[in-house]
């Protein structure tokens, strides 16, 4: 088994989930409680990775992270190394790709929070951010947790975007799903079997955990 690839997959998934926590939590606020039309655009934009082919998403990410893009250029002049085909570039790409998996359960949970509790918080002096952080988010913690778990699980298995943006560099961008692809290409069926089984078991565990969390969603009441 390619333990280096599995370790890299886990590291990548953990780091991208860690990035998603603050970013996704901030984006979930307008998505759950916003009233302007811009909310609809934001909802569509953050859901794009769900429907776009990974190759299309990967292509745009290469463009956005490449040395000729403002981001890629700034990164390169700051660190001396490019973003594409590196762990850092892959991490950014994974974060964008997994955003909807984090957001959807969280926004659904936030939508289930009793709006009158938020009104009560306002009459006690809480502004929008205070009410979100002190009332809405703690009450939607199951959504937050299942979002984080789903994003983590999806990050481990992501293939297309990783291949497009990261390539296949052992120790840097060669994740478990890429290693599996290589094993199949080289007819190492026994190794492929073990890698596939590990990824399957991981996904099943994670989905069981989120299903359990959702079944207990109403436990506050």
């Amino acid at each position: 088994m390619d333990w280096e690839a599995i370790r890299l997959s886990l590291k990548l998934a953990l780091c991208s989930t860690a990035l998603l926590l603050p970013l996704g939590t901030a984006l979930a606020w307008p998505l759950a409680f916003g009233r302007s039309r811009a909310r609809l655009l934001l909802e569509a934009a953050t859901s794009l990775p769900l429907v776009l082919p990974p190759t299309v998403l990967g292509f745009y990410l290469i463009v956005a992270l490449g040395p000729r893009s403002p981001l890629g250029h700034a990164w390169e002049s700051l660190t001396g190394s490019p973003l594409v085909f590196t762990f850092q570039g892959l991490l950014l790409a994974q974060t964008v790709t997994n955003l909807p998996f984090f957001l959807q359960p969280l926004v659904a949970s936030l939508g289930g929070v009793d709006r009158r509790l938020l009104e009560a918080a306002r009459t006690l002096g809480s502004g929008g951010a205070g009410t979100y952080l002190r009332v809405a988010l703690p009450l939607a913690w199951r959504g937050l947790l299942s979002g984080a778990i789903l994003a983590f699980a999806h990050a481990i298995g992501e293939f297309g975007v990783v291949l497009m943006v990261g390539g296949n560099i052992p120790g840097a961008t060669r994740t478990a799903s890429i290693a599996l692809f290589d094993q199949v290409q080289a007819f190492e069926m026994a190794g492929a079997n073990r890698t596939a089984l590990l990824l399957l078991a991981l996904a099943l565990t994670v989905l069981s955990a989120t299903a359990w969390l959702r079944s207990r969603e109403r436990a506050w009441n």
Partner: protein, 358 residues
């Protein structure tokens, strides 16, 4: 400082609510917003709190303009310093009792916050429950936490939207007593929305009568409730001023004009009281006029019959204005007509006695 409010609010497909109010925020005391369900009382309260934005008008507290035409809510709800107690407790389920009370004290120092929470818990009779979660409390306890939570940050005004609506009768009585005590102790002015004259008489210093989205009259609760025919169309019963004439077998003997009533004894030293009679507890009988041998059997004259869905409200003169709420078929069977003499039988349990103070 005075809170002045004159505004209009229309809900899509709903009625237009108009309010014209002036409240003295310098003085403590409780103003009752009184009227039938759906007359706009809650909307008025929500506009004052900043939870709803009026369509037009102006709301100002002293020099500070909270709302003005074309400027929206100049001061948002969280900056008005107005406490709000809702019909349901709406406690934060993820926080303990102490955490709920402390919610509005974020900017206080740790020691001040702890002292304030302890003081509010004591005042609201919640000692020993500080570490409980809301789901572990009774309905009455929850609403007392909601009251303590609203009052803890020292609001300049507290708004109470039918705070007894979700409680049973015993819990209502208890909270009503607590409320009076707590508001007096903290000397915070309050506005209470209710359609129950018992709340108005027991708690109110001033009363604003609303119906059909408008303010009809303002005055003392007793004066407004005593006016015959001046009450909104919805059922809540009638109110009579009475003198306590004695105590008989656990019941209070009351004299109201020409009639005598027996009612449950609230205890304590009583002289003059209000007797509030629920309309469902009054039944009518035909019979000879003038006998007063049986308890709570009053000779009365039918002033007016008013249909209210499957029920008929019978406006009576029994020495005081009395309302009976009977089924439409009973009214038909008895062939009740305006101007006729009947006997009104009042269940003792349908009478609530409220002491008149001072």
């Amino acid at each position: 400082m005075e809170l002045t409010a004159g505004f209009r609010k229309t809900f899509p497909g709903g009625p237009t609510i108009e309010a014209e109010l002036a409240l003295d925020l310098g003085a403590s005391g409780l103003t009752v917003l009184f009227g039938p369900s759906g007359c706009g009382k809650t909307t008025v309260l929500r506009c004052l709190a900043g939870l709803e934005t009026p369509d037009a008008g102006r709301i100002a507290a002293g020099d500070a303009v909270w709302f003005e035409d074309g400027h929206g809510n100049a001061v948002p709800a969280q900056a008005r310093g107005v406490g709000f107690v809702f019909q349901e407790p709406l406690l934060f389920p993820h926080l303990t009792v102490a955490g709920n009370i402390a919610y509005g004290l974020r900017d206080w120092s740790r020691s001040e916050r702890g002292a304030r929470v302890a003081a509010m818990a004591r005042l609201a009779g919640l000692e020993g429950l500080e570490h409980r979660r809301p789901r572990e409390l009774s309905g009455g306890q929850k609403q007392r936490v909601a009251l303590a939570r609203a009052l803890a940050p020292r609001p300049r005004l507290v708004l109470l939207d039918e705070p007894f609506a979700s409680l049973d009768r015993a819990a209502t009585e208890e909270l009503r007593r607590n409320l009076r005590h707590i508001l007096h102790r903290l000397e915070v002015p309050a506005v209470l929305v209710t359609h129950n004259p018992v709340d108005a008489l027991a708690l109110g210093d001033h009363m604003v009568l609303m119906d059909g989205g408008r303010v009809l009259r303002q005055g003392t609760p007793a004066a407004i409730l005593a006016e015959a025919g001046g009450l909104p169309a919805e059922s809540f019963g009638s109110v009579a001023r009475a003198r306590v004439a004695g105590r008989v077998e656990g019941l209070l003997r009351l004299e109201t004009g020409r009639a005598e009533l027996y009612a449950p004894d609230p205890g304590g030293d009583l002289d003059e009281v209000y007797a509030c009679v629920r309309g469902e507890g009054v039944s009518l009988e035909r019979g000879p006029h003038g006998r007063m041998t049986q308890r709570n059997r009053l000779p009365a004259t039918i002033l007016r019959l008013e249909e209210a869905g499957a029920l008929v409200r019978v406006h009576l003169d029994a020495g005081f204005p009395l309302h009976a709420l009977i089924t439409a078929w009973a009214a038909r069977d008895m062939d009740l007509r305006e101007g006729e003499a009947v006997q009104a039988l009042i269940k003792a349990s349908a009478i609530q006695v409220i002491p008149i103070e001072g």
